[in-house]
Point group: C2
Chain length 214, copies 2
C-alpha cells in the first residue's frame, strides 16, 4: 500500500505496520469505524458500521445524513477502526498502556448511485456483520434504496498499530510490591433478546452464535 | 451547552440530546475516544484514552505525538466517544440497526505545561480508567513528565445520540417467520493476566473487579 507523510508511523514504529494482511485482518475483526472529514477546517468524527471488499470499504446511512452527503462530495476522509484488547497495568504511572489493534485509513469516498451497486454494497456490510443474515430477511425495496446513501471509500493509504503483551517497566521498578499485568477486554455478546412481537416458534439463527464466539 | 449548526442533530433528532447529564454519563461510561483534527484539509482520526473533569477532557501521550502537537496548536477538534450496546436484527434489511450511545464533542485543546497541572490531569485520566490505581504505583518523575504531552480539551458544544430497544419493523413485515430482536454487546473484562515477572504473593487489586462489573 502507498505510504506518504500522512500515514507515516511517527511513534513507536515497531508497533506499526503497512502490511495489507495485518490491516485487512483488523478491518475484518471489527465492524465499527470512526469516520473523519472536515468542513471549512472543522473536523467531524462520526461512528458508523462498514463492510470491506479488498481495499474498498462500504458505508451506508440515511440519504439525509450530513456525513454521507459531505463524503460523497469526494472530500479527503480518514476511517479509523480500533479494537480494545486490554488495559496494561505497569508498576509506574508512566508505563501504563492499552493493548489494542487499530487501523487508520486515508482516502476518498464516492456515492454509489445505481440500485444494483447499492444492493451489492449493502449486502457486503450485512455479511461483514452477520454472514447469513441477508438471505433471511426482506431485501430492500426501490423506495428504501432511494432513501439510503451508500458510499464506497477507496483506501489510498493505511497503517495498522498493534500493542500486545505484558507491561514494560523500568528495570528498577520490577521489585515494587504492586500488581502488574493485563486486564483482557473484548466486546462480548450476551444472550439474544427476542423482539416482543416475535412468535415463540422462531429460534435464534446460528450466525448469532458464530458472532458471539468470534 | 452551546448549540450551533455543527452540533445540530440532523438525523432522527428524537434519538439525540444536548443534555449535559446524558453527555457526561456516556463520557464516564467509556474510556476510549476518537479524536479528529485536520491538517491542510486532510482529516486525521486517532484513538486515545481520556479522563473528564466537568466540561474538560484530558488527553495524553508522548511529547513526540503528531496528534498532540497539532492539537496543542489550538486547531478545531472533534472528540467522539461510542459505546456499542447491541446489534438490532429486523425483519427487513432496511430496518437493521445498532444499539449504541455516542457523544460528539467540538472544541479546542491547549497543552498543559506546568508539572503540577500535568500530574493532576494524568491522575484524572488514571482515575477515569481505574479509580485507585494511581495511589498504588510509582508517580511520574520530572523526566517522565517532560516526555509526556498532556492536553486539556474544552468542550464547547456537544451532542449525544442513543439508540436502544427492539427493532422497529414495517407493520407488513411482522408476520415474517424470521428471528428478530437484539444481540446485546458489551466490552467485557476477562481474568487478569499477571505479568510474568510478578511475585506470586501479589493479588489482583479490587479495582480490577470493579472495572469488570461496570
Amino acid at each position: 500500500m502507498r505510504r506518504t507523510e500522512r500515514s507515516r508511523l511517527h511513534r513507536l514504529p515497531r508497533r506499526g505496520s503497512h502490511d495489507a494482511g495485518t490491516i485487512h485482518a483488523i478491518l475484518d475483526a471489527a465492524f465499527l469505524a470512526h469516520v473523519g472529514f472536515a468542513v471549512d477546517g472543522q473536523p467531524f468524527v462520526i461512528p458508523t458500521l462498514y463492510g470491506r471488499d479488498g481495499d474498498r470499504l462500504y458505508l451506508h446511512g440515511s440519504a439525509a445524513s450530513r456525513m454521507l452527503t459531505r463524503l460523497a462530495g469526494g472530500v479527503a476522509a480518514c476511517v479509523t477502526v480500533t479494537l480494545v484488547d486490554g488495559l496494561v497495568l505497569a508498576r509506574s504511572a508512566f508505563h501504563h498502556s492499552m493493548n489494542y489493534r487499530s487501523v487508520v485509513a486515508f482516502g476518498t469516498a464516492r456515492a454509489i448511485a445505481d440500485p444494483e451497486g447499492k444492493t451489492r454494497a449493502l449486502r457486503i456490510i450485512s455479511d461483514h456483520l452477520l454472514q447469513g443474515r441477508w438471505d433471511d430477511v426482506r431485501p430492500p425495496t426501490a423506495r428504501e434504496l432511494k432513501a439510503t446513501s451508500v458510499l464506497e471509500f477507496v483506501v489510498d493509504e493505511a497503517s495498522a498499530k498493534v500493542r500486545e503483551g505484558p507491561p514494560l517497566d523500568d528495570e528498577t521498578d520490577y521489585d515494587r510490591a504492586v500488581w502488574a499485568g493485563v486486564l483482557p477486554l473484548r466486546l462480548q455478546a450476551g444472550d439474544p433478546v427476542p423482539d416482543p412481537r416475535l412468535a415463540d416458534s422462531v429460534a435464534p439463527p446460528g450466525y448469532l452464535e458464530r458472532f458471539a464466539s468470534r
